[in-house]
C-alpha cells in the first residue's frame, strides 16, 4: 500500500520535526521510539464520543505508553499534539448535528481543544434542555467537572470547582455517586499539584458523602469491589490519610472519617434479609477499610532497619551512611535513619505488577538522582515456578532475572532465608525479622500484600505508604518526594 507508507513517512517527518524542534528547547530531550499519526481520517461520519475515545487513546499513547527509559519527553510538545488533534476533531464535530446525547461528548472535545468558552456554552445548552432529569443533569455536571479538572492547566480548576458546586446542589440520593467522583477527581488533581489544603478539602468531602449515599452506591466506591470502572477516579482515602496521620489534629479527623466509613459499610437489615450476600459484602468492606487504616499506622514511626542477606547494585547506594553496615553481627543490616529520602518498594518476582512498579521506581530515581534513594526489597519464596529450589539457587535465578534479564540498575535488597518447616508440614523460607516490621494488617486481608511502597523522610521517619504504585500514582509520589526534599 504505497499511499499508506507515504502517509506514515510524512507523519514520521512531521512528528520528527516536532520533537526535533522541542529538542532544541530541552537539552535532555530523548526522541521516543514511537511515532504518532496525527491525522484524522475525515472520510467517515463520527460521533463526538468517538472523538473523545480517539483523543483518550492518543493521550494514553503519548503520555502513558512510553518506554520507561524515555522519561524526559517534551510534555509541552505532546500537549500541543493532543490539542491539535482535538482541534481537528472539533472541526469535524462542528459539521454534525448535535443531539441531546452527543452534546456532552462535544463539550469534552472542545475542552481538549482548548476551546473553553465553546465547551461551557455546550454544557449550558445541555443543562438547559427542557425536562432534563436530575440524573442527566448530574451526569453532565460530572463530565464538566472532570473535563476541567486539568492538572496541566491549573487555572481551569476554578471552572471545575464551579461545576462541582452546581453538582453538589443536587440531591445526594440521586447524584451522590457523581458528587463523590467529582470531589475525588478534584482531590487527586490538587494532590498532584501539591495544593494540600484543597486536596484535603475535596478528599474529605468525597469520603463524607459516602455515608449519605444509598448503600448500593457506597459499595461501588470501594476499590477492588468496583467493577468495569464504574468509578475510575482513585479513592482519596489513602493519600488523605498520609497527609492527616502525622499530626494529632489530622489523626483525629482521619479517625472520624474512618469511623464514618466503617459505619457506612454496615448493610441495612432489610438489604441483608432480601439478599444475604449483602452481609458478606459488608464484612469485606469493613475489613478493607480496617486494612487501609492499618496501613496508615506505620506513618510517623521510625523506619525499622533492613535486614537482608544480599545486595545487588549496592554501589548505587548514594552515600556512605546509606550503605549496608557489614560490621554488625547481622548480615547486611542497614539503618534507614538520616540523610536522604528513601523509597522502598517491597515486591515479589512472580508478580507482574511488581515488575511494572519497579519500572516506576526507576522513573522516580531518574527524576530524583540526588537526595533520594530507591531500594527494591524482595525475598525468596522457596520455589521457582513449580520447582522447589534452594535459597542459593533461587538467589542466583533472581539475580539473573533482575540484573541480567531486566537490567535493573537501582539497589536491590534480598532476604534469602533458609527453609524451615511450618507446623502444618509446609517448607517455607524463614522471614526476615526486620522486613516483618513493615508488614501491615493488609497481610491479614491477603496473605502477602505486594507490591507495597514505603517513603521514608530524611529523619528516618515513615511518611507515606502506598498499596498501589501505578502510573496514576507516580506524579503524586514525585510531588510528595519533592515536598520531602524541601523540608528542613
Amino acid at each position: 500500500m504505497p499511499c499508506n507508507r507515504w502517509a506514515t513517512f510524512a507523519t514520521s517527518v512531521l512528528v520528527l520535526s516536532l520533537f526535533m524542534s522541542a529538542r532544541s528547547m530541552h537539552a535532555q530531550v530523548a526522541l521516543p521510539d514511537i511515532l504518532y499519526d496525527n491525522t484524522i481520517p475525515p472520510a467517515h461520519r463520527v460521533t463526538p464520543d468517538a472523538a473523545v475515545s480517539d483523543l483518550r487513546a492518543a493521550t494514553h499513547r503519548l503520555f502513558d505508553d512510553i518506554p520507561s527509559n524515555r522519561v524526559t519527553l517534551p510534555t509541552d510538545s505532546m500537549h500541543a499534539l493532543v490539542i491539535a488533534r482535538a482541534t481537528q476533531w472539533l472541526n469535524v464535530i462542528r459539521t454534525l448535528p448535535l443531539t441531546a446525547l452527543t452534546v456532552n461528548g462535544a463539550s469534552r472535545v472542545a475542552v481538549m481543544a482548548g476551546q473553553d468558552s465553546l465547551a461551557q456554552a455546550q454544557i449550558a445548552t445541555r443543562l438547559a434542555t427542557p425536562g432534563l432529569s436530575v440524573a442527566d443533569r448530574g451526569y453532565t455536571l460530572l463530565l464538566a467537572t472532570l473535563a476541567f479538572t486539568d492538572t496541566t492547566q491549573p487555572s481551569r480548576l476554578t471552572t471545575a470547582e464551579q461545576y462541582c458546586a452546581k453538582l453538589d446542589s443536587l440531591p445526594v440520593t440521586i447524584a451522590g455517586l457523581w458528587q463523590y467522583r467529582a470531589h475525588a477527581a478534584l482531590s487527586n488533581a490538587y494532590d498532584v499539584l501539591g495544593r494540600t489544603a484543597s486536596f484535603v478539602t475535596h478528599g474529605r468531602r468525597a469520603l463524607m458523602l459516602v455515608p449519605k449515599m444509598p448503600y448500593i452506591d457506597r459499595m461501588i466506591i470501594i476499590p477492588d469491589v468496583q467493577e468495569f470502572e464504574l468509578v475510575p477516579e482513585p479513592n482519596p482515602y489513602m493519600p488523605l490519610a498520609m497527609v492527616l496521620a502525622p499530626t494529632s489534629q489530622g489523626r483525629a479527623r482521619l479517625d472520624t472519617l474512618t469511623q464514618g466509613l466503617l459505619d457506612a459499610s454496615r448493610a441495612p437489615d432489610s438489604l441483608i434479609s432480601a439478599n444475604p450476600m449483602y452481609g458478606q459484602i459488608a464484612q469485606i468492606l469493613a475489613s478493607m477499610i480496617q486494612a487501609h487504616a492499618g496501613a496508615v499506622a506505620l506513618i510517623g514511626h521510625p523506619a525499622p532497619s533492613l535486614h537482608v542477606t544480599h545486595w545487588w547494585n549496592a554501589a548505587a547506594l548514594t552515600s556512605a551512611n546509606a550503605r549496608p553496615d557489614t560490621t554488625t553481627t547481622r548480615r547486611d543490616s542497614m539503618s534507614l535513619h538520616g540523610g536522604i529520602v528513601r523509597v522502598l518498594l517491597f515486591g515479589q518476582y512472580g508478580l507482574g505488577c511488581c515488575l511494572a512498579e519497579l519500572r516506576g521506581l526507576e522513573r522516580i530515581h531518574q527524576q530524583f538522582p540526588i537526595g533520594v534513594q530507591p531500594i527494591y526489597v524482595t525475598s525468596t519464596t522457596g520455589h521457582w515456578g513449580f520447582r522447589i529450589v534452594s535459597p542459593a539457587e533461587e538467589t542466583r535465578l533472581l539475580q539473573e532475572t533482575y540484573i541480567t534479564e531486566h537490567e535493573i540498575s537501582i539497589p536491590i535488597a534480598l532476604w534469602a532465608g533458609e527453609k524451615k518447616k511450618t507446623p502444618q508440614g509446609w517448607i517455607i523460607p524463614e522471614r526476615s525479622p526486620d522486613l516483618e516490621a513493615y508488614h501491615t494488617p493488609m497481610d491479614d486481608y491477603e496473605s502477602q500484600r505486594s507490591p507495597y511502597l514505603v517513603i521514608i523522610d530524611r529523619h528516618g521517619v515513615i511518611r507515606r505508604t502506598l498499596t498501589r504504585f501505578e502510573r496514576a500514582q507516580e506524579a503524586q509520589t514525585a510531588a510528595f518526594i519533592r515536598a520531602l526534599l524541601q523540608e528542613r
Partner: protein, 562 residues
C-alpha cells in the same frame, strides 16, 4: 446487487504448476500466516485491515484452482464433481471497558473442498494448501474414495437438476471496513461505551467489531462457475446494569451478525439504542428477585425471545437431511420425520406461518448456495401445515411426490450451505421469519389478564446453545441463566424470577400452547448457533418473530435451597 456475468470463455487447460504460477499471485504464500495480534505501533500509524493482512487471493486465482480440481476429478473418473475454493480474512477489534487501546487480531486463510461422485456414491475431501498439486491430489483422493464407497452403496445418490450458473456477486456495502483505520474503528467502539455510561449504573461489558471477508468460488463439472464475495460483521455489544449485587446484561438490538460494510458501525441511531438498552438493563437490575413455585404458567415471550426459541426449536427441525436420517449420528433427527408422512400435515398451531430466505442483511445473506443453486425465499410452514423443508440437490428427490402433488417443479430451494470451503455443504435454514398477527397486539396486551405468568425476555440476541434440546428436538429446556424471566402479577412484570427453567415439548409448545401472537410492532430478532455434521460444526441461524403468548408451560426449579 452488484451481480455481473462472467466471461463464458472455456476454462484454461491443462493446469500445471508452471501455468498456475504464471497466473496466480505470489501473495499466496503469505496466506499461510497464522493469527496475528497487532502491535501498538500498528495502531498509531493508521494501520488498516488491508495494511496488516496479506492481499486476498484474486478471484481469478481461486477460479483457476477450482477448474484445476475439476479437471483432475474428471480425469480420475468422476461422473460429477463440485468444488468450493475460498480465500478469507478476518479482523477483530475489541475495546475492553475503560481501556484506551483496543485489542486487535487479524487472520487470513485459504480453504478448498471437493465433492466427487462415482457410480452414485459421493466423497468429500478438503485441503488448505493453495496450489495446483494440492487441488489435483484432493480431487483424485475424492474420486478414489467415492469409488470405494460405491462398492458398498445401498441407495445411489441422485442430484436433482439445477441450471449451471455463472456469475459474480458481492455483499452490498458502501465502505470497505478493511480500508478504515483500526484506531478509527476503536474510537467508534469507545463512543458506544461513553453512550452506555450516560446511564447511572450502566456500563458496557463488551464492545467488539469482528469483520470477515471471504471470496468463495463454486464450480462444478456441469459448467457452473460462481464467485461470491462476502463481507460479514459480528458486533456483539453488551450493556449491563449494575445495581449493588444485582446485575443484568443485555445485548443491544441491531448489533449482531450482519452482512455489509463499515457503514454498519455508523448507524445514526446507535447511541440512542445503546442508551435505551442500558436503561432497560438498569431497570431490570433494580427489580427485586424471587423464586416461584414449580407448576404450569402462562408465558409471554418478547419478539426476541420468540425468535430465539424459533431459531432453536424450529430452525433445525426442517432440514431435510436431518429428516431423512442422514444426521442421525451427527446433529440428530427431528420430530418432523419421516418427510413423506409429515409433509402436508398440520404439525404446529395454525398461528404459525414461517418463511425462510437468505436475502436479509444478516450473516446468512448470499446469492447462491454451495451447490450453485440460487437461494430463494420460500414458505416452510403455512398456518401450521408443513409445506416444505430446506432442501439440497441431493436430498430434494425425497420430496418428488409432494412437489408433484402440489404442482411444483422438483428442485433444490438453495439451502445447501457450507460454513467454509473446507466443509461439505448441508441443509441449513438461513433466516427464519415468523409472520406476526394481522392485528396490532402489543406485549402489554398479551400480558394483560395473565394472573400467573412469566414474561420471557431474550437478554442476548445471540441466545446461543444454552437452551437444551434432545436429539430429536422434541423437548427443550430454557435456562434462566440465558433468559430473563419476569414474574407477571395482574398482567405487569414485577420481579425477576431466579432458578426457574421452562420445560416444553416442541410440538405442544408451538401447537396447542400457542394462544396468541403479537402484531408487527412486536417483531424482533435473535440468532442461534446450531450444530450438525461429523465432525460437528456450527452455523448461525437467524430468526425474526413477533411476541407470543404460550399457555400451560411447565416451570421447574433448579439449584438453590428448598
Amino acid at each position: 446487487m452488484s451481480m455481473r456475468p462472467t466471461s463464458t470463455r472455456s476454462l484454461p487447460r491443462p493446469f500445471t504448476r508452471r501455468t498456475f504460477l504464471k497466473t496466480t499471485s505470489m501473495g499466496v504464500a503469505a496466506l499461510q500466516l497464522g493469527a496475528r495480534r497487532l502491535l501498538a505501533d500498528d495502531l498509531t500509524t493508521g494501520a488498516t485491515g488491508n495494511t496488516v493482512l496479506p492481499e486476498p487471493m484474486p478471484p481469478e486465482t481461486l477460479r483457476t484452482l477450482a477448474a484445476c480440481a475439476l479437471e483432475a476429478a474428471k480425469a480420475a473418473g468422476a461422473t460429477y464433481a463440485d468444488v468450493r475454493v475460498a480465500s478469507h480474512q478476518w479482523l477483530a477489534i475489541e475495546l475492553s471497558p475503560g481501556a484506551d487501546q483496543p485489542a486487535v487480531l487479524s487472520d487470513a486463510g485459504f480453504d478448498m473442498g471437493i465433492r466427487a461422485m462415482v457410480d452414485g456414491a459421493m466423497a468429500f475431501v478438503y485441503r488448505h494448501v493453495p496450489n495446483v498439486d494440492a487441488a489435483a491430489a484432493m480431487a483424485r483422493n475424492a474420486v478414489a474414495s467415492a469409488r470405494g464407497f460405491s462398492r458398498v452403496l445401498l441407495h445411489p445418490i441422485e442430484l436433482v437438476p439445477a441450471p449451471a450458473l455463472t456469475g459474480e456477486w458481492s455483499t452490498p456495502m458502501q465502505i470497505d471496513p478493511f480500508t478504515v483505520p483500526v484506531k478509527e474503528q476503536a474510537a467508534v467502539l469507545g463512543g458506544w461505551q461513553a453512550a452506555a455510561k450516560q446511564v447511572k449504573y450502566g456500563e458496557v461489558s463488551s464492545t467488539k467489531a469482528q469483520w470477515a471477508r471471504e471470496t468463495r468460488v463454486f464450480a462444478s463439472t456441469e459448467g457452473a462457475m460462481l464467485t461470491q464475495q462476502f463481507m460479514r460483521l459480528d458486533q456483539p455489544v453488551f450493556v449491563q446494569g449494575v445495581v449493588g449485587l444485582s446485575r443484568c446484561g443485555l445485548s443491544v438490538d441491531g448489533m449482531t451478525n450482519s452482512s455489509g460494510g463499515y457503514e454498519l458501525l455508523l448507524a445514526p441511531d446507535v447511541h440512542e439504542r445503546i442508551v435505551a438498552r442500558t436503561e432497560e438493563a438498569v431497570r431490570f437490575a433494580w427489580m427485586p428477585a424471587t423464586t416461584i413455585d414449580v407448576g404450569r404458567y402462562d408465558v409471554i415471550t418478547t419478539g426476541a425471545a420468540t425468535a430465539a426459541l424459533a431459531a432453536r426449536m424450529l430452525g433445525p427441525a426442517f432440514e431435510l437431511d436431518r429428516a431423512l436420517g442422514e444426521e442421525v449420528a451427527g446433529g440428530g433427527t427431528t420430530y418432523a420425520m419421516p418427510p413423506a408422512d409429515v409433509i402436508g400435515t398440520s404439525l404446529l398451531s395454525p398461528r404459525v406461518t414461517m418463511h425462510v430466505s437468505r436475502t436479509a442483511p444478516t450473516s446468512a445473506l448470499q446469492k447462491w448456495d454451495d451447490e450453485g443453486v440460487e437461494c430463494s425465499s420460500f414458505p416452510v410452514v403455512e398456518h401450521g401445515q408443513l409445506v416444505d423443508y430446506y432442501t439440497t440437490r441431493h436430498t430434494a428427490g425425497a420430496l418428488r411426490a409432494w412437489y408433484a402433488k402440489t404442482g411444483r417443479a422438483l428442485r433444490s430451494n438453495g439451502s445447501a450451505i457450507a460454513p467454509t470451503a473446507a466443509h461439505a455443504p448441508a441443509a441449513w435454514a438461513g433466516d427464519l421469519t415468523l409472520a406476526p398477527s394481522a392485528e396490532s397486539t402489543t406485549v402489554d396486551e398479551l400480558c394483560r389478564g395473565v394472573t400467573k405468568g412469566i414474561l420471557l425476555h431474550c437478554p442476548d440476541y445471540r441466545f446461543w446453545q444454552y437452551t437444551m434440546l434432545d436429539q430429536q428436538l422434541t423437548s427443550v429446556q430454557v435456562n434462566d441463566g440465558v433468559s430473563l424471566m419476569l414474574q407477571l402479577e395482574r398482567g405487569r412484570p414485577v420481579r425477576r424470577v431466579l432458578l426457574a427453567n421452562l420445560q416444553v415439548a416442541t410440538k405442544t409448545f408451538w401447537g396447542k400452547s400457542l394462544k396468541a401472537i403479537g402484531g408487527a410492532a412486536t417483531v424482533d430478532y435473535a440468532t442461534q448457533v446450531n450444530a450438525k455434521g461429523i465432525p460437528s460444526y456450527e452455523m448461525l441461524v437467524h430468526a425474526s418473530a413477533p411476541a407470543a403468548h404460550f399457555t400451560d408451560v411447565n416451570v421447574i426449579r433448579i439449584g438453590g435451597a428448598g
